[in-house]
């Protein structure tokens, strides 16, 4: 167990280091996210007050687009030089490999999100600093949900012919409940109506989603990696 966590930590550290040196997916994801933010301004030419009503939805669309780009690289990064086979053959258990990959993707996506949040606030005149504490909690919970499901499917699709197309097809329907909760909560936080009962339901939804899919992914990943 302890060995596994140490391996997971090493893999996460390795992934983050490679990524922060080359910045290949983080640059792409961040610039893609900003482009989407710009496109939204043409797509939804709304007044500032009206915009608050859809603010959470837009933010999470951007984040989930960026998330798909980042998790796509998770296992694909190991394909050149057959690194994936070596990882699987190493004494690290399957769940540790998965956990390392998921944690690395989580931090990368978090960095992209923290870059986008001020840009979003600036472009659309959304005040987000006032409720940053609860917002950060929502972001952490939902980002973990996206990365854990995304990394699991990135392992499933790593040997598929059209990997970049398959991942979104599987990922987005699966994270609908998560996005539903995160979008509602974020909109409520932006517009300052954050303590109603519905929001607590959404909050519980996020926690339940994370718990269920983390357990499912950790359990099933051995089957994915071994074939």
């Amino acid at each position: 167990m302890k060995q596994g966590f140490r391996a997971a930590f090493a893999i996460a550290k390795k992934d983050l280091r490679t990524e922060l040196r080359t910045k290949e997916s983080i640059n792409a994801a961040a610039s893609f996210a900003v482009v989407i933010l710009v496109l939204f301004s043409f797509a939804f030419p709304l007044e500032r007050d009206e915009f608050y009503a859809i603010s959470g939805g837009l933010l999470w669309l951007v984040y989930s687009f960026a998330g798909a780009l980042i998790v796509n690289r998770g296992f694909a990064r190991e394909l050149p030089n057959d690194c994936l086979d070596v990882l699987i053959a190493s004494p690290a258990p399957g769940w540790a490999i998965f956990l390392g990959k998921a944690v690395a993707a989580f931090f990368l996506l978090l960095i992209v999100e923290l870059i986008c949040l001020p840009v979003f606030g600036l472009f659309y005149n959304i005040r987000w600093t006032g409720s940053f504490g609860p917002l950060a909690l929502v972001i952490v919970l939902a980002t973990w949900g996206i990365t854990v499901v995304g990394t699991a499917f990135s392992a499933v699709t790593v040997n598929v012919r059209v990997r970049e197309l398959m991942l979104p097809v599987l990922l987005y329907p699966m994270i609908i409940p998560l996005l539903l909760g995160a979008m509602g909560l974020t909109t409520a936080l932006f517009s300052g109506e954050s303590s109603s009962g519905d929001n607590w339901d959404s909050f519980r939804l996020l926690i339940a989603f994370d718990a269920i899919y983390t357990a499912l992914a950790l359990y099933l990943i051995d089957f994915v990696l071994i074939v």
């Binding site: 699966m174 499912l216 089957f223 074939v227």
Partner: protein, 226 residues
């Protein structure tokens, strides 16, 4: 023998369906509130229930495949999911027609409808990813895992109209709690039976195709080896 059984099932299903349609259209009184249109319930609800039965079978066979690595389980999974997804489409389309008549809109984003559409899209994902993986063991393993993940939505659809404080257009459950008049029970049960028989026949046909396909593939590999 197996072929005959399949055709017998299909024929039985068709006969029950025809008889049931006759009963539904000529023998039943109109609903007090909805009038004529309520008759969709005898297709709409059984389609979903039968689909859920097949999805549950697919869940079990997916787990069995991962545990036993027997390709028969994988063939059963894909056959069940294909037929069930078709039934979900039937459910969505009939529901949409019913919604247009009763609510005035073809579609609304309430929890029940959204989760049901999600179920359809998730299993569509399963059917899309399968042909994209060429290596048979890998294909079976990956798609089994997708099938297990996708099943998480099935209880969500079930819960969507049973949660205490959810506002939804879709009516709350009417089965097994006396909210549906007793006279409708028999045609409802027959609707279930008809789709179950017919669906099983379709699953068996697909299963037959899958096993033949696997045989052809292995023969082809053998030929290449020579």
């Amino acid at each position: 023998m197996r072929e005959k059984a399949t055709w017998l099932l299909a024929l039985l299903g068709a006969l029950v369906m025809i008889y049931n349609l006759h009963v539904i259209f000529t023998g039943l009184p109109d609903d007090a509130l909805q009038g004529m249109i309520f008759r969709i319930i005898f297709i709409h609800v059984p389609a979903d229930l039968v689909a859920d039965i097949f999805y549950t079978v697919a869940l079990v066979t997916s787990i069995m495949f991962l545990a036993k690595k027997n390709f028969l389980y994988d063939s059963i999974t894909v056959s069940c999911i294909e037929v069930a997804t078709m039934l979900i489409l039937v459910n969505l389309v009939t529901g949409s027609v019913w919604g247009r008549n009763q609510w005035g809109v073809w579609w609304t984003w309430d929890l029940r409808l959204t989760t049901q559409l999600m179920k359809f899209v998730l299993y569509l994902g399963y059917l899309i990813i399968r042909p994209a993986i060429s290596e048979p063991t890998q294909r079976a393993t990956m798609s089994s895992i997708v099938a297990i993940f996708a099943y998480a939505d099935v209880p969500m659809v079930w819960m969507a109209i049973r949660l205490p404080n959810v506002r939804t257009n879709h009516p709350s459950p009417v089965l097994g709690n006396g909210k549906m008049a007793a006279v409708y029970n028999a045609p409802f049960g027959m609707g279930m039976l008809a789709l179950l028989l017919f669906g099983t026949a379709l699953v068996l046909i697909r299963l037959h195709q899958e096993t033949s396909q696997r045989e052809i593939d292995s023969l082809r590999r053998e030929l290449h080896a020579i």
